[in-house]
Symmetry: D2
Subunit: 459 residues, 4 copies
C-alpha cells in the first residue's frame, strides 16, 4: 500500500497472541507508526483466541486513522512464530487462569491475603514457579530461532519472567515493560496542577526510578523546574490527606480505585515515594495485611478471584460483539510505549528514555548484580542501556532486597525444580508469619493444586 512506502519491514512474534489487553493496544499503536510495517505472528496455546485477535488486527488496518498496514498471522508452532522475528512480545497467563483460584484461596485459609496475587506473597511466588517454567521454554526457543531479536516482556511476575529469560539465555536482548510508574508520574502532574495551576503531561515529569517491578520508588521528580517531591511532602502534610478510610467509604470503593493512603504512608515513613498502586505495594511489606478490615482502613480492597474469572470469561464475548459491529475501529494515541521503544531500537528515532526491567549491572547500587531491577534506560540503535540511578535509602533497600532475594530463589528453584528452595522463598516473604510446619503444609497444598503446570516436579 502506498502509505507504507519507505517503511521498514519487520516481523513481530507475539507470544500469548490471544491475550485480551496488550495485544489490542499493540495493534492500535502499530497502526500509528508509518516508519514500520510487516507481520505480527500471533502465537497462543489458546489458538481460537489468537485467531480472534487476528480478525481484530484486520479491523484495525481498516481504521480510517491507520497510517501503517500489518499482516496478522496465526502460526501453529512457537518456532514458526519466532523464525525471522525482529521483536518478540510476550504477555501470557502462567498456567490457566483458574490456578489463580488456588493461589489466592489456599493462603487465605491461613490468614494470608493478596489484593493482587500476581507478583509477591505466596500466590505471586507459586505463580512465578509456573511462569519461570514457561519462560525457560521461551528463552530456549528464542535462542534457537531468533537469537538477535529483542524480547519485550509484559507478563507478571515481571521480574521472575525477565530473570528467567536471562538465566536460561544470558545473551538474550530482553527487557520488561510496565506502566505502573506512569500512574505515579500522573500523581505528580496532578500535584503540579493543584499547587501551581499548570496542566502538564505525565511525560513531562522527569523521574528517577529505583526498585523492582511493582515495588519501584522515585527519589527525584522534576517538572518544568518544579521539585515535585516537595509538592508531595506538602500534600501529605495537609490535614485530612492521610486518614483512615472509614468502612462505609471502603464498601463503596471499586477494586482498582487508589486512595494512595499506602503511598502517602510509605512516603512519610521513608522519605521517598513508592511508585506503584497501593494494591501492589501492600504485598511487599508486612504492615497493612493483618486482616481485611486493616487493609480496607488503608483504602485498599481485595480483588476476589470470582471477579477475575468472571471478567476473564466474559471478555471474548465483548470482543466478538465488537468484531460483528460495522462501526469502524478508532485508532488513537495510547499510553503504552512498546512501539516507541521498537522504533528507537530500530534506529528510526533519535532515542527514547523510559523505565524498564533489566538485569542489574550497577544501575542500582546496593542490589545484587544480575537480579532484574527497574530503572530508567535509554533506547537507541540496537541498544537498551540502563541509566545509573543511585542507591535506595537503607530502610527501603532492606525491603526491596527481600523481594530481590525471593526473585533469585524462586527462579532458581523453578529451573532446578527444587521445592525446598522455593519454600525458603515463601518463608522469606513479608506476608509469611506462620510457623514453618504450618507454612510447609500450606505451600504443599498450593503446589499440588497447580501441579498440572509444574512439569517434572515432584509435589
Amino acid at each position: 500500500m502506498k502509505k507504507d512506502k519507505g517503511a521498514r519491514r519487520i516481523k513481530i512474534a507475539y507470544i500469548g497472541g490471544g491475550s485480551r489487553g496488550w495485544a489490542h493496544t499493540l495493534m492500535n499503536d502499530l497502526a500509528q507508526a508509518p516508519q514500520i510495517t510487516g507481520q505480527v505472528a500471533l502465537y497462543d496455546i489458546d489458538r481460537p483466541m489468537a485467531l480472534l485477535n487476528a480478525r481484530w488486527g484486520k479491523r484495525v488496518n481498516q481504521s480510517p486513522q491507520a497510517r501503517s498496514q500489518w499482516t496478522y498471522t496465526v502460526p501453529t508452532t512457537l518456532a514458526a512464530a519466532l523464525r525471522g522475528a525482529d521483536f518478540v512480545a510476550a504477555s501470557i497467563q502462567p498456567g490457566p487462569i483458574e490456578m489463580m483460584g488456588s493461589d489466592l484461596n489456599i493462603p487465605r485459609e491461613y490468614g494470608i491475603l493478596h489484593p493482587v496475587g500476581d507478583t509477591a506473597g505466596p500466590a505471586g511466588l507459586v505463580r512465578a514457579l509456573r511462569a519461570a517454567m514457561d519462560y525457560a521454554q521461551i528463552a530456549r526457543a528464542v535462542q534457537r530461532h531468533c537469537p538477535e531479536a529483542w524480547v519485550l516482556n509484559f507478563s507478571n511476575p515481571m521480574t521472575a519472567c525477565t530473570r528467567t529469560l536471562y538465566k536460561v539465555f544470558p545473551q538474550i536482548k530482553a527487557f520488561g515493560c510496565c506502566h505502573e510508574v506512569f500512574g505515579t508520574q500522573r500523581m505528580f502532574a496532578d500535584l503540579v496542577h493543584e499547587y501551581h495551576g499548570l496542566k502538564v503531561e505525565r511525560g513531562e515529569v522527569r523521574v528517577n526510578v529505583l526498585g523492582v517491578n511493582h515495588f519501584t520508588w522515585i527519589d527525584r521528580a522534576c517538572c518544568r523546574g518544579i521539585d515535585c517531591m516537595k509538592l508531595l511532602a506538602r500534600k501529605v502534610a495537609a490535614p485530612g490527606v492521610v486518614r483512615p478510610v472509614p468502612p462505609q467509604e471502603s464498601a463503596r470503593m471499586g477494586f482498582f480505585e487508589n486512595r494512595k493512603q499506602v503511598t502517602y504512608d510509605l512516603f512519610r515513613r521513608y522519605g521517598i515515594c513508592p511508585a506503584a498502586g497501593d494494591r501492589h505495594l501492600v504485598e511487599f511489606v508486612p504492615f497493612y495485611l493483618k486482616d481485611e478490615a486493616t487493609l480496607n482502613r488503608w483504602g485498599v480492597k481485595l480483588t476476589p478471584y470470582s471477579y477475575r474469572i468472571e471478567r476473564y470469561q466474559t471478555a471474548p464475548t465483548g470482543f466478538r460483539k465488537r468484531l460483528r459491529d460495522r462501526k469502524p475501529f478508532e485508532v488513537k494515541a495510547s499510553s503504552e510505549e512498546g512501539v516507541k521503544e521498537m522504533l528507537a531500537i530500530l534506529g528510526l528515532t533519535s532515542g527514547f528514555r523510559s523505565n524498564v526491567n533489566l538485569p542489574n549491572v550497577g544501575q542500582i547500587e546496593g542490589l545484587p548484580r544480575d537480579a532484574v531491577v527497574e530503572t530508567n534506560a535509554y533506547f537507541t540503535a540496537d541498544s537498551v542501556k540502563p541509566e545509573f540511578s543511585g542507591r535506595l535509602p537503607a530502610g527501603v533497600e532492606a525491603l526491596v532486597s527481600r523481594a530481590v532475594s525471593n526473585q533469585e530463589m524462586i527462579v532458581e528453584a523453578a529451573l532446578a525444580r527444587d521445592k525446598d528452595l522455593a519454600f525458603q522463598a515463601v518463608l522469606n516473604d513479608p506476608l509469611m508469619t506462620l510457623p514453618t510446619d504450618t507454612a510447609w503444609k500450606m505451600f504443599s497444598r498450593m503446589l499440588r493444586a497447580t501441579r498440572a503446570a509444574l512439569h517434572g516436579w515432584k509435589v
Copy 2:
C-alpha cells in the same frame, strides 16, 4: 614476684570493670598465663562494684594455682583507665538494667515477645541505640588515649557495639568475642560420641562459621575425619527427635535449657546448621514467636524481666559472701578464649584461630562490606585477620541480610540521633508485623521509657 620473671608486662583496661560475669573469668584466666603480668584497670560507672571486683582479683592472686600475679586498680576516669593500655576489654550494660524492663514489656503489650531481648527484635534495637551511644564514647576515648590498643568487646548487642567502634574510629583494632558457637561445637562433639563412641573436645570440631552474632551458621564441621554435618542429618531424621514439646514438659523447663528443636527445624529447612541457642535464633525469624504457647511448643521459654532483675540484684551479695570466706579461690581452665587471643596478639604463642566479630572485608560473600559479621579469624602478632568463609545459601543469606541491614540502620540512627531511621529498622525487624501507625506508637513509648540513656535525642 619470682613466678613472673621474664613475663611480658602489659596493661588491660576493663570497661565495665564492675561486671558480674566475664571480669571474674578474665581474672581466673590471667592467673594461669605465666607469659604475661601487669595491671588490670577496672573502670565502671558503678564504682563500688569495680572496687568489689578489685578485691576479688586480689583473692585470685592468692590462689595456690595462680601462676601470674596482677595488680587490680580502680581508676576514677575512663581516660586514666585507658592511658597506656595494651588491651581494652569492654563488657557493659547499655543503660541501667532496669531499662530491660521497658524493652521487653512494652512490645509484649503489642504481642511482640522476646525470649532474650538483647540482640534483635524491637527490644534489641532500642538496646542497640543506647549501646551505640556508649560505644561511640568508648571509641573516641580509645582514639585519644590508646589508639594502638586492641579492644575486645563482650557486650550485647555484639554487632551494633563493634560496628559503632569502627564507625567512630575506623582505624581501631577491635573485635567482638562470643562463646555461643562453642555450644554448637559441643553439640557436634556429642554427636561424635553418640554415633562413633568417641569422646572429643569441642575444640577438635573444626567448623566453618558464617553469619552475624547470635545468628551464625555452620556449613562444614569436621572432627577426626568425621563429617559432623552428616551426623546431624542422621540425628534430625531419627524418629522422635524433632517433635512438639508438650506443655507439661515445657512448664518444667529452665529458662536456659536448650531443646534444640529450633536448631533442628532450621537445619531441616535450610540444610545448614544454625550456631546459637534456640532462644536467640527465634528472635531472628518470624516463625516461632506468634504467641507464648507456640514458642513453648518449640522448646523455648521466655526469660521474664523479673528473673533478670532479681538475679542481677542478688549477685553482689553472693560475691561479698565469697570474699568474706577464708576458703582460697580455685583457679582452673575456663572455656573463654580472651586470654589466648591476647597471647597470640602479643606474639607469645604460635597463633590462634577462633570465631570472632569483625567488619566484613569479604570474609562472607554476599553480605555488605564493613558490616560486622562473625567468622573464624586467625590471631598472630599484632594481627587478627578473618578467614575467607564463603557464602551463605540464598535462603539463609536473605534472613541474615535483614539482620545486617538493621545493624547498619540502628548504628547510623544512633550516631545521627535519627528517630525516623531507627524506626525503619524496627519496621524491618522480623518480629514486626504491626501496622505502621501502631508500630510508631509502640516505638515512641519504648524510646521515652529509655530516654535517660539517649543523650541529645528528641524522643
Copy 3:
C-alpha cells in the same frame, strides 16, 4: 530585547575567560540558543585577555544571525564570577604556557618524546600536578559560592582536572567535555561514504565509547543499520592502507595531520577502534616513541614547543585586528556540544546523549570506581547519567588501567604534595624506561622548572 522574550535567564561563569579557543565558540553557540539568555562572567588571571574577550562577545551580539543576547562581564575575583552561576565553564592553562617548555624539553634530553605533552607521559603528569592545584581551588570556590551549579571542564589533562573536582568536593555536579571522539565518528562517516556511497553526519554514527580521555575506544559503531566496525576491518585489510610513512612524506606533513596509521595498527592488534588522534594515542603506549624517526614512520610528528609558544603569543594580535574590523561577525553552527548540554540540563530540550568524562560508578566494568572515565551519558533535567558501556577487552583494559592508575596517583600526589607518589606515577608511565635513579633526576629537574606553580611543594 524582543528576541529574548520568554527565554530562561541564566548565569555562566567562565574560568579562563581570556582563553583563545573555546570561549569564542561558546559565544557563537550561545548566540544561537533562543531558549536562554543572561550573563557570561569572564574570569581570568590574565584580565586583559578577558576584557578582550568581553569585547568579542559584544561583537557576537551584534551579528545579524544572533538569536539571543548576552551580557559579558569581567569580574575581578573568582568569587564574584561564581556567585549565582547556573553553569561554570573552565578552560585554563595550568601554569603559564612557558612551562610547557620544560615539560617537553627536559624529558627529551633523556630520550622521552611527547607529540602533545598535555595528557600523559612525564610532561602530562607534571602538567597534571599543576592543574590539580588549580582545580582544587576551583572545586573549593564552587563549593562555597555555587554548589548547585553544573561545571563543564574543557582543560587538559581532562581526567586529572575532573578527578580533582570530585575529590575535593564530592557532591560537585561536574563533567568533562572533549570532542576527540567526534573525529572518529567522522572517520566512520567517511567509511560509510566510501563503501556505501552515503553522505551521513558524524552524529548519525551511533558509537559505544569506553576509556579515558584521549585514550577512548569504540567497540560498536552503527549508522543507518550499517555495522561500521566491519567497514573499518575492510579498510585496514585493503592493500596499502597500513604502511610505513616514508620520510619525505612525513617531512611535508603538518603537525596536526592524522594519517591514522596508529589507529589502524591498534585496531588490527586489539580488534577494537581507538577513538583519539594518533598524536594522543602514541603517548599511552610504549610502541611508537622509541625515537623521532620511528614516530614519523607511523605518520605522527612532534609538535615543537617553539610552534606552540609562537601560536600562543600571536593569537591576541589576530583577535584585536578582527575586533577593529568593521566586518560583522558571522554566527554559525559549531561542532561543540556545550550549549546543547546546558539546554538539556535546564530541561529545555527532550534530552541529549554524548560522550563525557565522569567518575566511574560502573559505566565501565573492570576499571576502578571513582576514577574519571569517558563514556556516553544521557543529559536531562538537572541530571547527567552515564550509560552502562560494558567492559574493554583484556588487552586494552590493561593499557587503559595503567592510565587510570596514574590519574589516581597524580591527583592524590598533587593534593598531598607528595613527590614520592608523583614519582611512582612517572615510573608507571608507558613512556618511562629509564633506571629509577636517572628517572628521579629527570623528574626532580622537571618539578624545579615548574615550581612557581607548585605552591606549598618542596621540590
Copy 4:
C-alpha cells in the same frame, strides 16, 4: 613396619616424578613425618628419571633417621598415578628444557634480556603458554580420577599454572607453593641480628604478604615485638648500602648471588619491601634491564642458557653416583613446607600458616577476583583459606596489576589457542618497548621455535 603403626595411610601422586629438586626434598620430608605413611606414585614423561627417583626413595627409606616408610611406584599412565590419590604434587618442565634456549635467546636478539625467564617477560609468557597446555591436561585428569585430592603446584610460571588448574576445573582444591618469600624473611632475621644482636629463625619473622608469585611484597614484618620494616629503612639509609655494583665485583659474582640492590631500591621508591630475589624482581619492571651493564650495575647477572642446560644434563650422573655409593643417606629438616601443609590438611596438626598462591577471593583488595595471587593462608582440616591481607599501595598495585593482567591473558590465550591475545600479553609486558610490527615478528619466531609443545596451535 613397627614405626608406622597408627600412621594414616595416604597416596601422593607426583607429576614430574623424575624431577631433580623438589622430589628429593619431598622424600626427605616424608621420611620425617611419623603421622603418615603410604605410597608415592612418581609419574613422568621421562620414565627413566622417575625410575631413578624411585630408587632414590628406597635409599631414603633405609636412612637411619627415617621415621616413616614409603612405597615408591612408577606408574606408566597419569590416570594410574592419580587414581586414589589424596595429594597431587606437580613440578614439571613445560616443554623440554631445550625450549628455554629459544625463550631466552630470541628476545635477546631484540635487546630484551631475562635474568631468569621462567615467570615474566616474553620468555615467561611463552613458557606460560606451554605450561597452561600441560596444566589443562592435569586439571582434567584430576577432575576425572581424584577430584577430591589436594593439588600442590611447584612449577613455574606458578601463577599461570595454578590459574589454569582453576580455570579448567573450578572446584579443584589446588594451591601453589614457593619458597621465595622465605629469603626475605631471612633478610629480616639477619637485620634483627645485626641491629638487636638476636639470633632468630626465619619463621619467627611474621610477615604480611601481598602480590603475585616472584613479585610479592611485604608491608608488615614483626619479630619478637621488633618492627622489622624500621630496621630495613635504617639499613637502606646507611651509607654505602645502596650503591652501584662496580664491573669488577659483578664479574666475580655467581648467577644466584643476591646483592639486594634492587630490593633496596624498590623499597626506597615505594616504601614497601619486595619479597623475591633481585633476579626475579627486575623482570617485572622496566627499570633495570636496559642492557647487561645496567643490570650488572644493580648487582644482578644474566643466567645464561648454556649454564642451565649443562646443569640439567649433568644432574642425573651425580644422582646415579650417589645411588651407587654405600654411604647411607642422611635425612634432615628441610626448609620446604609441603609435608607440613599436608599434615595440616589431613587434620593431623593443629593448623599451619604460610604464604601460598590461590585464586583471589578478596585476600588482596584492588586486584581482580579469581586471578591467582600470593598471600598468607591458613591450613586446617581439608581447608586452605587465604587470609585477608589488605591492599598494595597505589604505585605497587599498578605494577602488580600489570602482571595479573598478563596472567589472565596468557592463560586465556593458551586455552583458546589465541595468538592475538597472547601477543597482547607480550605487548603489555614491562620488558616490551619494541614497535608492534617488530614485536610481532619476534613473538612469531618464539612460538615457532616452541611449536612442538603447542598442540593444536597455528603458529
